[in-house]
Amino acid sequence: MASDLREQLENVLASGLSEDRLEHAGQVARIAGVLHRAFGEAGLRSTIVGGSAIELHAPGVYLSGDIDLVVERVRRQAEQIEAVFESLGFERRGRHWRIGDLFVEVPSRTLDDPSEFMRVGDAVFEIVRKEVVLADRIVGFRQWEVLAWGQQAIDLLAAFGSEIDEKWLRGKLEHEGSLDALEPLRTLAGNDKPVTEGTLRELLAGLRSKMQR
């Protein structure tokens, strides 16, 4: 089975990763499907997180150049992560795994955030829910003043529209001290005004000033 999966992975990577947003997301999904099957057969559960999760929920917000994967043990006799990557043809470079144009990192062995199964054609894999990646960007903007993530949060809010699990998102943002940023970002996502560095800095300054009152 490993050779079958390795062949599938090689087929996806053979022509390199596309620059077209939808084709690229499709390639990432096929890779995610192969990894999910390979780890699953080895008694491990893999979940897509980070930038590639953003791309798979909302292509165009982020063109991921790498895949972040949380891999958890679900079977006592599970194989080692290393054996699975090697069976697929990956080479280890420090704490990363590489094959062709693909760069994979396993940032954690436990996942606290809610996840779901996603299907893209024949590829099925597990991924953190869209509210998780949205909350991550809003918190990064609000707490660490990462303006790039503020813009990505606006893009995600625009992409998801009313499809958001508001209860979970608000609970998470409240827990992270970032709920006050949600509506202002949503307003920016919903109108036609330009968004600049100044717009986002002004928003942050307004939130800081409200907190001090």
Partner: protein, 72 residues
């Protein structure tokens, strides 16, 4: 779980991409920065011209730090 029970994500991609493009069209991202990447990841992405539109700011906390620490 049957794979057939899960809707194909491609059904929502095109519409979401269109909304994202509209959002990005009115954004001027100059001056917007992202946290620094891991050096190995940066080298790999640089080699392939896949660094993305946001320059790194070495003064921002790295993503791993962002995940672990909570602001005071």
């Amino acid at each position: 779980m049957n794979a057939e029970d899960i809707p194909d994500q491609r059904e929502v991609w095109a519409e979401r991409l269109e909304r994202v493009r509209r959002s990005q069209k009115r954004a001027d991202i100059s001056g917007m920065r992202r946290p620094p990447r891991d050096p190995a990841e940066r080298a790999f992405l640089t080699e392939r011209g896949r660094l993305g539109p946001f320059p790194e700011d070495p003064d921002l906390p790295a993503p791993a730090v962002v995940r672990r620490r909570r602001p005071a």
